[in-house]
């Protein structure tokens, strides 16, 4: 049992060119730690030097931004869908 993680184009080269991964962990912090173990080259793109989320990375669990759900402590359950998206100047402009 695992959650599904969607990888944005910009992060795929550092994550085995995968667009979708199955990931394990009960919190976002655990999921990201395991990802950085599996893909050490992605670490600098996922986490800042202080260990917090990279400032230009948005992480969503079932379409909810984890920064407002406890950050790295945000819970993850089996079958959850985790989406990583770069923070960009977006729409509504």
């Amino acid at each position: 049992m695992a959650a599904v993680l969607r990888v944005p184009t910009v992060l795929r080269p550092a994550m085995g060119n995968n667009s979708v991964l199955e990931v394990e962990g009960s919190t976002i912090g655990e999921v990201l730690t395991r990802l950085t173990e599996a893909y050490p080259g992605a670490r600098a793109q996922l986490l800042g030097e202080d260990g917090a989320l990279h400032r230009f990375l948005n992480v969503y669990v079932n379409d909810d931004d984890v920064r407002y759900l406890g950050g790295l402590d945000a819970p993850v359950s089996d079958h959850d869908e985790i989406t990583l998206l770069p923070a960009v100047a977006g729409g509504f402009l």
């Binding site: 931004d65 729409g91 402009l93």
Partner: protein
């Protein structure tokens, strides 16, 4: 207000309509503020006027003086609103516009006399911001209002949109709006929280992050200074992402209550419905925003074509 001296006096004071027929909960009311009623057609009229008036107050722009040039990145509505204001004030506006916006936006910019500078479509608004910054640095005589960092942007909403909402919907419990420059969320959110401390502010992230593939690395990302300068991470209570398909579907659903809106308003309505669902049976009153009307988006086929086709086209055209 039946007779005014200038079209600029028609900016703001927009109506709010009850769209609770679309609410998933009988206890949760949803009210939509119709910003398409602004004269240049969107919520950005408020911002454009505020940006220009602030620059005039600072002496960066002088009405009537010849040869004044402004530059601004925009995927549409800010550029269109600024073009209208600049036309009335006599300023020449250059808009850095991603190449892949819907053709109506380009035509509206031309209608109000703006000059269009294209930025690569694959880079989305991010690319337009970078290009405008570079051009502004090369041409220090051009006035760069920079909506993403200008305090006059959230101030427009703090001084007009927020008070209008509270006056019309004093029972508001939630405010749901789209996250672009974050000006609406920061301005309205701060005003509502100061006057109704229990109000929850929800941001809807448009699906553009899925579409923009032009980033070389995550370090090319961008968070608007308006968001960080206003303590956005503390001001917001939740942020949800809405998918392209949901945005199109909710744009269509809004016609059930008589509203013909742009696709970003469909995205925001989808976010308001998520907010309502999260509340269960709890009584609540959500205020949300219809940013603009649907006219500029007819070429997308959003109302007439197969949803799959519309979604597929939206991956290469900026609809938000």
């Amino acid at each position: 207000m039946a007779r005014v001296a200038s079209v600029l006096e028609l900016i703001g004071s927009t109506p709010i309509v009850d769209v609770s027929a679309l609410s998933p909960s009988p206890n949760v009311a949803i009210l939509a503020k119709l910003e398409g009623r602004n004269p240049a057609g969107s919520i950005k009229d408020r911002v454009a006027l505020s940006l220009v008036e602030a620059a005039e107050a600072e002496g960066r722009l002088v009405p009537g003086r010849a040869g004044q040039v402004l530059i601004e990145p925009s995927s549409g509505n800010t550029g269109i609103a600024l073009a209208m204001v600049c036309r009335l004030r006599g300023y020449h506006l250059k808009v850095v516009l991603p190449a892949n916006v819907s053709p109506e936006r380009r035509q509206l910019l031309v209608a109000w006399g703006a000059e269009i500078i294209e930025s690569p479509g694959a880079e989305g608004s991010n690319g337009a911001v970078r290009r405008a910054q570079a051009l502004a640095a090369e041409h220090p005589d051009w006035v760069f209002l920079y909506q993403y960092a200008n305090p006059a942007n959230p101030r427009a909403h703090y001084t007009t949109t927020g008070p209008e909402i509270l006056a019309d919907v004093p029972e508001v419990t939630h405010f749901v709006a789209g996250l672009g420059t974050s000006g609406t969320l920061m301005g309205v959110g701060r005003y509502l929280k100061e006057h109704r401390p229990g109000v929850q502010v929800w941001a809807v992230e448009p699906p553009s992050g899925e579409v923009v593939d032009g980033l070389r690395s995550l370090d090319d990302g961008y968070v608007p200074p308006v968001f960080t300068d206003n303590g956005g991470a503390d001001l917001l209570d939740r942020k949800v992402i809405v998918r392209l398909r949901e945005s199109v579907e909710w744009t269509r659903r809004l016609t059930e209550v008589g509203l013909f809106t742009g696709l970003s308003s469909g995205a925001i309505m989808a976010g308001a419905v998520k907010c309502a669902r999260s509340l269960g049976d709890e009584p609540a009153t959500i205020v949300t925003v219809v940013c603009d009307d649907g006219w500029k988006y007819l070429s997308t086929g959003a109302w007439s074509d197969d949803v799959d086709d519309v979604v597929e086209r939206a991956r290469t055209t900026i609809y938000f």
